[in-house]
Assembly symmetry: C2
Homo-oligomer: 254 residues x 2
């Protein structure tokens, strides 16, 4: 069934993937008509600030990302994608499956929040260097306890989803949640390569999901384009060697 | 309009208000037919664990609270209340207002997450005493920067909501979001009385909303009942004097 797709204005900080990337991946997979306002429009960043300062009409966002769709201003990443998905055929119409998708997305959001706090455990307003000691402690607990717990949970969700034979997280086909899971895994590869290496064999379904999303034609085209900004040390997923697990020594060749 | 209300099973850790309290307040205001399973049912806690261990059917929750409504298992606090609200007339049917409610609720959830991390900035699995130094730093930034920012944002949301004359957060009448805002303010009074005192005069609409919710007959009855567990040092909102702002000296009587 063909639904008429809305035009979307995305508002997010330029220069980083950040939480905006979860929205971008959805819009790219949908082939949506969208503008990444702060990056692409003249005075785009100033327009975004007007919304945050309450100078525009509609719901007041606490922080980016937010989108404008018609007259509606929709904020909070997990909510933005849950709101857009049915409008772009990226979630089934079934209410139970939509509920399932939403709670997985919110769990991914919690996971991402914990990733952020590995490098900013004290305050987002302070430099990393000023909270490095606490960051090391938090990151150690994160890679030891939380990362395996979240990833193991995702693996179980895939395993339980018989409708897709473990290929997708919700229902029989790909949804917005799969795109977000891809982004989380991509970020973990970047930020915690050493910690990820020994976990990968334990999460074969998650790994296959990552490859499956990366290979989707529109996603592959997006990832190869300049629209996809690289990971960097300003975003949520940052690579600080001292926060990752130590590298494993390989067996020496004889 | 009278809709047929579903029966709800709530699953949450016994002994604390925690995130379960946001769900309880909704169910109490609705006069819902619900069971707080882990507190009230024989082997309730064991039943909850079976869900978390993946031994029951339906969506796999990452953590409590979750609810069972018919065959659906719904988890993630903000999603649980957004899911229940239309079934109990606690949010308007209008899609734009539902979206607005959802993003406010998610912002409250972020706020609550930051409150939690004031006493557990390193890891939830470690004792408070083992992360006290980091907790003090995080709490200092929280009461200085984040608490006024979130509360000021709530005040602005009320101020902008002309449909209710600033009485409610969304639309013309009380919604589930107002109940959650009440709980956040109650928690802040408990955890950070000194930091709250000088902020209160700056957020008159928030303060009035708090009083208005507390005075609703079903909420008042609930708060006076044994079903309302007291705040304590095991929940999300904890009172540690060293994490609150210092007490202000009163002008001495002459």
């Amino acid at each position: 069934m063909k639904t008429r797709q809305p035009k979307v204005e995305l508002y997010y900080w330029p220069g980083i993937q950040g939480r905006g990337e979860f929205v971008r991946l959805l819009l790219e997979e949908a082939g949506a008509n969208y503008v990444d306002v702060a990056r692409e429009s003249k005075n785009g960043l100033a327009t975004m600030m007007r919304f945050l300062e309450g100078k525009e009409r509609g719901a007041l966002p606490f922080a980016p990302p937010f989108v404008r769709v018609g007259k509606l201003i929709v904020s909070q990443t997990a909510h933005v994608v849950a709101f857009l998905a049915p409008r772009f055929g990226l979630v089934p119409r079934d209410q139970g499956l939509q509920a399932e998708a939403c709670q997985i997305q919110l769990t991914l959001a919690d996971f991402v929040g914990e990733v952020h706090d590995t490098h900013h455990p004290i305050a987002g307003s302070l430099y990393y260097e000023d909270q490095k000691a606490a960051a090391k402690r938090r990151a150690r607990e994160f890679v030891k306890e939380r990362m395996p717990k979240y990833l193991g949970w995702l693996e179980k969700v895939l395993l339980r989803n018989r409708k897709s034979g473990g290929r997708w997280l919700v229902g029989a086909d790909r949804t917005y949640v799969d795109l977000s899971a891809f982004q989380v895994i991509a970020g973990l590869h970047y930020a915690f390569p050493n910690a990820m290496a020994p976990l990968e064999p334990k999460i074969p379904l998650v790994r296959a999901l990552y490859d499956r999303v990366a290979a989707r034609p529109r996603i592959a085209a997006y990832l190869a384009s300049k629209r996809r900004q690289p990971f960097n040390q300003m975003g949520i997923f940052r690579h600080y060697r001292e926060l990752d697990a130590p590298a494993r020594r390989r067996a020496r060749k004889r």
